[in-house]
């Protein structure tokens, strides 16, 4: 019987933004694997699809026999760009492509819709997308885990913390990227006890870290 879901926000800094957020791809890779190994099958996983990370999450969950409890969110906006591995997931959740408004482009609007369904409303059922009164399909999150990333991870952090202020939210700062900004920001850092902060900043034994810090 799988318990409450864990929200995973992970990506790898690249391109021009990699200058601002120097990437540590090995640490990001190890942290994602470590999370899957430590959290499953006890928890299910909810995450937004990422071309490099999705295939690895699939392989790892598959080797543990837990693919059916990984919920992967993909925006219809990118329907033609996603790796075929995304379709291997049994719980692939499509979120709508939303047209641009005078204030925001279609990318920003579609990403907003995806995060709304994935983080705020926890909707899996297609017909319930964009219905602000729809009841959640998934139980509330047991934890949020934040790995690597660029600006997007900061947006997801703010959204997660606004809606789940009492749920453990882990900034895995040893994976660098935007997690360093989150940890350094006194308005965002949740105030971890010193040993927890040290673990998150230094320890690369990720299975161990998540076993200790996840509920």
């Amino acid at each position: 019987m799988t318990g409450a879901p864990i929200f995973l926000s992970a990506s790898v800094p690249f391109g021009d933004r990699a200058k601002r957020y120097p990437p540590e791809p090995v640490a990001i890779r190890e942290a994602v694997r470590g999370l899957i190994a430590a959290a499953m099958p006890r928890h299910s996983i909810v995450f937004g699809g990422h071309p490099a990370i999705s295939p690895m999450v699939w392989d790892d969950a598959n080797s543990l026999g837990t693919v059916d409890t990984v919920f992967i969110y993909q925006s219809e906006l990118f329907k033609n760009d996603i790796p075929k591995e995304a379709n291997f997931f049994t719980k692939l959740v499509w979120t709508p492509q939303v047209p641009a408004t005078p204030q925001k482009g279609d990318l920003a609007k579609s990403l907003e819709a995806m995060r709304d369904a994935m983080i705020v409303h926890r909707i899996v059922e297609g017909s319930k997308m964009l219905d602000p009164n729809a009841a959640p399909d998934l139980p509330t999150f047991a934890a949020g885990v934040f790995i690597g990333g660029m600006n997007g991870i900061i947006d997801e952090w703010d959204l997660f913390r606004a809606h789940y202020p009492n749920v453990p939210a882990l900034i895995v700062a040893s994976t660098k990227g935007a997690t360093l900004d989150l940890m350094a920001d006194p308005n965002r850092n949740p105030g971890y006890p010193p040993q927890v902060r040290q673990m998150l900043e230094r320890d690369r034994r990720y299975r161990h870290v998540f076993r200790q810090l996840l509920p």
């Binding site: 990437p23 791809p25 190890e30 071309p51 392989d59 026999g65 230094r202 320890d203 034994r205 161990h208």
Partner: protein, 432 residues
């Protein structure tokens, strides 16, 4: 990424003797295998400990023992290194009085007398810098990048790597996994020449994700003006500029400048170091963190992890042995580990610690007290099937660091269960 180094951490009351004892020989050995000791080797001493990250870069600890009591700061750094799974070599002026020169936590570990000429070799082995353990794979598209591949091949070879060139993989007809899989345990690094049209998404999604799961480092050389597939983002990117090519020619006949090759090989080394450290953490660091409280693990600089009762003192009789391996167990790597066991002597029993006994490997193995531990997360069924076939012939049982629902035959119960069962068992008898 370019910061990753081989860290030689000097600890212990006699640590200031390091330069006189080993400084020259070690640096010579580094240079002999094609590394630059000034750039690649970092000798760390107390005083730098605050900034030192035991998880970043690959570390080997040298404890230079003496009669004076150890500095608590040294012991703290020692503890941090041991938690990260780094090998520690205890070195003493007189091996017959070993235990009087080292703190309690190092007494169970095999040490050397500091005039032993095997020490530089031990250090290199701790960094996995022996030639057979230092291999790289270069994948490239023949029609785009042959002269560049040859340049990278030569640069890495001069640096002490054994390099395998592979065109077939990216040509997309043959899977590269067969060639790669046979040498996976010794392959640390894949250099991917991402020239226009080199990669196709099938290869990237299937092969590259497996490479990442196995823990190899991937260095991706990106041609000027070329945007890599997003699926490759777990690689370390090195964008090439036209100035990196002789005459600015980065077409199919283009060759790299010597400066560019130097930059590439230095980055390749850093990628190797980081991924090797991660592979070691996956099995040694995580294993030590999994132990039940009643049990203690003594990580030998070379050879198995010895499991003892936590309250048995430094010379308690072993409960079991773990051989952590990098990559997947295959017949050759297990045979090699098993052969190493036969020569193992450890200190057992007497509190004065002067008794060296031969460990009864056969007895321990027969009593199901030895495991080869590996990280098999994400490995696909076809490779597990191969492991099932091989396991029928392996002399030792295997266990994955994670609990896997479809373990290969020969994997016993989960590692956690096995550790629990050892902790409650009577210590192994049957010493030779």
């Amino acid at each position: 990424m370019g910061e990753s180094r081989y860290h030689l951490v000097n600890l212990g009351p006699a640590r200031d003797q390091f330069e006189a004892l080993f400084g020259i020989t070690l640096r010579e050995r580094f240079a002999n295998i094609g590394l630059d000791p000034e750039l690649d080797l970092d000798v760390i001493k107390l005083g730098q400990a605050g900034d030192f990250d035991e998880f970043d870069g690959l570390s080997v600890g040298l404890w230079l023992g003496g009669e004076s009591p150890p500095d608590p700061a040294d012991r703290d750094l020692l503890r941090r290194l041991q938690q990260a799974g780094a090998p520690i070599l205890p070195l003493v002026p007189d091996i017959t009085k070993f235990s009087s020169f080292v703190p309690e936590e190092l007494r169970p570990i095999n040490g050397r007398q500091w005039d032993d000429d095997r020490i530089p070799g031990d250090v290199l082995r701790g960094f996995r810098l022996t030639r057979q353990l230092r291999q790289a794979f270069v994948s490239y598209r023949r029609t785009d990048a042959t002269p560049v591949a040859v340049g990278v091949f030569n640069g890495l070879t001069q640096r002490g790597f054994e390099v395998f060139l592979d065109t077939a993989s990216v040509e997309a007809t043959e899977p590269f996994q067969d060639t790669l899989w046979d040498r996976m345990a010794d392959m640390d690094l894949l250099v991917l020449l991402d020239s226009p049209n080199a990669l196709n998404s099938r290869w990237v999604n299937e092969e590259l994700v497996q490479v990442n799961n196995l823990g190899l480092g991937v260095l991706q050389l990106i041609w000027p003006g070329h945007t890599p597939y997003q699926e490759t983002h777990l690689s370390t990117p090195l964008p090439l500029e036209p100035a990196d090519f002789v005459g600015g020619n980065y077409g199919p006949e283009g060759r790299l400048t010597d400066e560019a090759i130097g930059k590439i090989t230095a980055t390749a080394e850093a990628v190797r170091i980081t991924s090797l450290a991660a592979r070691r953490t996956r099995v040694v660091g995580e294993l030590v963190a999994l132990l039940p409280p009643a049990m203690r693990a003594d990580v030998q600089p070379a050879g198995p992890v010895i499991l003892r009762p936590a309250d048995g003192g430094p010379y308690g009789r072993p409960l079991g042995l773990v051989l952590p391996i990098v990559g997947l167990p295959d017949a050759w790597s297990v045979y090699r580990e098993r052969s190493g066991l036969a020569a193992l002597r450890i200190t057992v029993g007497a509190s004065t610690g002067t008794t060296l006994e031969n460990l009864d490997i056969e007895g321990l193995a027969k009593g199901s007290r030895v495991r080869v531990v590996y990280d098999g997360l994400g490995v696909r069924d076809e490779h597990i099937q191969r492991l099932i076939w091989l396991n029928g012939y392996l002399p030792l049982k295997t266990a994955s660091i994670d609990h896997q629902p479809r373990p290969p035959a020969g994997d016993s119960e989960s590692l956690s269960h096995w550790l629990e069962s050892l902790a409650t068992a009577v210590p192994a008898g049957g010493f030779a």
